[in-house]
Each structure stands twice: as C-alpha cells, then as structure tokens.
Amino acid sequence: MRLRRPGRTPLALLAGTVLTLLFPRACDSARIAAASLLPATVPQRDPAPVLPEEERLRLVARIEELERERAALPPSEGAVRILRVERPQRVEAAVVAPVLHRDVSRTRRSFVIGAGSASGVARGHAVIHGESLVGVVDSVAAHSARVLRIDDRAAETAMPVSVLDPKASEGAANRGVGVARGSGDGRVHVGFLPPGSARPGDWIVSAPGGGLVGPGWLLGVVTSAGDDDRDGDFEALASPLHDLDDVATVVVLVAEPVRGVNR
C-alpha cells in the first residue's frame, strides 16, 4: 500500500483502531511467546547453589522436626489463625518462574514469566512472592505467561478481600469484606468496605470468591483509610509487602477451578 497517496494514512489508522477495538486480546499467546524468545530485560538473580546430599537430608529432617513442633502448638489466634486455616488446600503444584520482562507501558503493571501451559499454568492462577500475592496470570503461552500485578488497574485484578486486624483476638480479627483493585501507582485500592472497618496497619487478605486465587493470601498492609470524597463508600489504600518493581522470581500456584469457576 502506498502511504504517500493522500488520505491513505488516516484510513490505515482508522482501520487499525477498529481492529484493536474488535480484537483487544488478539495474538496474546504469540506476543508472550515472542517476548520470551528474547533475552530477559529483568536482571536474573543467580540460581540457588545445589546443596550437597548430606546437607539436604539434614535440612529435610530439620523441616520435619519443625513441622512436628508446629503441629503440637496450641491453636493460634486472630488474624494468624485466619491466614493459616483459610489457605487454599486445592493447590496442585507450585511452579517457580523467573520474571523475564516488565511492561513497557507506563499505564500498565504486568510482567512476563518463564513458565507457561507446559508447566500447568493457566489463566487466573495466583502468583505469589514469599508470603504475599503479587498478581494473577492473565494469558499463557507454552513456556511463558503474562501476569497482571495486583496494582494494575485492569478489571481482571479486582478480587474480594478481607481486612484483618493483626493484633485482634480470634473472632474480632476480620473487620470487613471489600473489593480490591490496583490503583496503577504501586498500591492497592480497597472499596465497598463497611464504615470504619480499616485502619493503618491492618492486613488486606484475599477472601473466598476470588476464582482460582484462594482465600488467605496477603495482598498488603493498609496505609490510609477513610471516606475522603464523602461518597458513602469507605475506602482503604494498601501497600504490597514487596516492591513489585523489584520482584525477580515468583511462584505460580497451579490450582483446579472450583465448579467450573474460572477468572
């Protein structure tokens, strides 16, 4: 097509706009696969050194010993108990994956990881780093996947959450349930909360009903709360536990959908 002919360029731009509106998720798998072919733009940490067999067996024995000690402890209270009891039990596997690329767009918060459908990763799976949820798998190729971070403002990251008071005793720990969604600036916005149900220092934890993201995963700590815009909707802002721009390795929790529910 000769673009020099007058009027062709605006027409091409218009056609492209229509195509984008019609197929917003076109070629997702191909795009992720293409991104994974190129060298990682996120600095890769050195892999953990391989332990000698003797040392590995010693550590396994120590872990088993600690597990026995933990089982003998009296039931924990409050928020800690909720975290422990509500952790999803239907996770089939935990896939460790390196973060390969971060999103080039200044309006989106996502990254590409080096694990895909070949490892069992599917859309909607929870992605954690340490003890906290960092994102949700959005689209998948064979050996790579795109993860939407919890601070991305896309609707796909919205999920029901509970506000927990880490210092309260059992029964009073759960302050209320709201809906969390990324604010686009590194924080998580929680809306639809009961009035006065969040205070700085409270924990934001995933609640039942979040699809393949099981309940009990920590999203962040409340930094501010209130109804500043006076619209009757009590809101809270939470900061993730980790600097999400600095995460280099994540774990994907491969889980089975419950009764056909998939995000």
Binding site: T9, L13, H101
Partner: protein, 160 residues
C-alpha cells in the same frame, strides 16, 4: 549500509523503552520512541512518521498488556498529527518542537487511559514523563540531525 543508522536508532528506541520502567517508574526517562517519531515528523513527512511510529509500536507490542495494536496506533497517530501540527508553523523551532512533543506525550497517555477504561497512569507520572520528553526534544533533534543517522528518513522532507 544506508539503513544502518535508522536501524540502530530503531533498536536503541526499543531498548530504552524496555528499560524505562525499571530505570524510573515515575516517568523521569524520556520516551525515545516518541522522540524518534517526532524527529521524522519534523524533518520528514507525516506518512513516514506514521509508518515509523506503527513499526515501533508493533515492535513493542510483545512487552505490554495493552491491546496489540494500541502502541502502534498511538505512536503512528502521534507522528502523523505531530507532522501536520508542526507543518503549519516553523517545524524546526525549539518552542514548536517542545509544544508538539508535550502534546503528543499527553496524547499517548490519554489514548492509553481511554483504551483501558480510565485506568491511566498516575497524572503526576504522565506529566513528568511529558515534560521530560518535551525538554529532551530539541537537543535530541539537533543531535540526530547533526549525526545524520536518520538521513534516509529525512530526505523526503523536501517532498513534504
């Protein structure tokens, strides 16, 4: 070898765009792809700027959760509109370049915000990025013109 310069600038623009989120999430890195497109818009033709913007956007598509053609369309439109806007005044004037670059950068943020249903970048980051990019426009244009690395794309300026 004629296209070695444009190819090198093309790759450098992509490399900087890939690294920018890590270097400064709050927008202190100028948008090199936009600067390249607007350079061609100022010294080439609107169509070449649009084509270059489209190619740069397509090359960046694998690294973003945006719809696949969005970056390409936004950069192509910015190039085409920038060339048209600069064409009505002195397109090599530093102030014109500053104004066009500032408007184009804010235009890109607006397109992304509309495309994601209002989920745009924080306003402070968008304004910071637009100002930094606009401030870099004249030095960038002067340096690239002096080095003549985009000469094959500038040649058509006389046809504009």
């Amino acid at each position: 070898m004629r296209w070695a310069g444009p190819a090198a600038v093309f790759l450098a623009a992509i490399a900087v765009a890939l690294r920018a989120p890590a270097w400064s999430p709050s927008g202190w890195v100028p948008e090199l792809p936009l600067l390249v497109v607007l350079h061609v818009a100022a010294r080439g033709t609107a169509d070449r700027a649009a084509l270059l913007g489209g190619l740069l956007g397509l090359a960046l598509a694998p690294w973003t959760a945006e719809p696949p053609l969005l970056q390409a369309l936004a950069l192509a439109s910015a190039g085409w509109l920038g060339a048209r806007a600069a064409g009505v005044v002195d397109r090599r004037n530093a102030l014109v370049l500053f104004a066009v670059t500032l408007a184009a950068s804010l235009f890109l943020r607006a397109v992304e915000a509309v495309a994601s249903g209002g989920a745009g970048a924080p306003l402070s980051a968008a304004i910071t990025c637009a100002c930094v990019t606009a401030a870099a426009s004249f030095p960038f244009n002067a340096a690239v013109a002096r080095l003549r690395v985009l000469a094959p794309l500038e040649r058509s300026f006389r046809d504009a």
